[in-house]
Symmetry: C2
Subunit: 119 residues, 2 copies
């Protein structure tokens, strides 16, 4: 446990634009996508919860990980998703982002990489 | 709903160092603190979940909000907490951070402010 629960970690903030709206409204599908992404990164899933704002509307959800979390908030009306991937230890957050990016196929993206837990 | 669920938002990434370990191990207490923080910011709580890694160990948890989320991951063994506050719409994430900061009283902090959802 101590080997994966270290404070130093990488936090990816991904703003994904130009996504087909139909990919952003199904909580079950987004849940499955984030689980696939977490496993690709080598992370361990502790909990997941996804909320739907209504038919055809956005979803908001999170996977809590032993290594921190993956969250996503979607706005199908403007084809936008904000995804965060925060992982400590040996997990590889870039691999999770590749899975999400491949599935949502945004036509524009802005990704910030933030090192967390460094003094 | 549409007035608060807009893509443009502010994401605060707060690395909080030098916190008394006893403040970082009680999931119920951290849950209550994050709820207080969310309400101070004018956000609406949809869901919360907190995981404890074991007695005296860190916790990891999240509040899902109508406006996005607040997450926290703690490492009591090094007095560290990584908090994220992501809020869209009219909610005021800085007010949530003030509540968390006052309760945890870190002796050093690094806060990054990231604008999300802007092309």
């Amino acid at each position: 446990m101590t080997t994966i629960h270290r404070p130093a970690g990488i936090h990816l903030l991904a703003d994904l634009h130009g996504i087909d709206a139909s990919l952003l409204t199904d909580a079950g599908r987004i849940d499955a996508l984030l689980r696939e992404a977490a496993l690709a990164a080598g992370a361990r899933i502790l909990h997941s919860h996804f909320h739907t704002f209504g038919p055809g509307m956005g979803i908001t959800g999170v996977l809590l990980l032993a290594e921190s979390h993956i969250s996503i908030h979607t706005w199908p009306e403007v084809g936008f998703a904000a995804a965060d991937i925060f992982m400590c230890g040996a997990a590889q957050p870039h691999l999770a982002l590749e899975v999400i990016d491949a599935a949502l196929a945004p036509n524009a993206r802005e990704v910030k990489v933030v090192e967390r837990g460094q003094l």
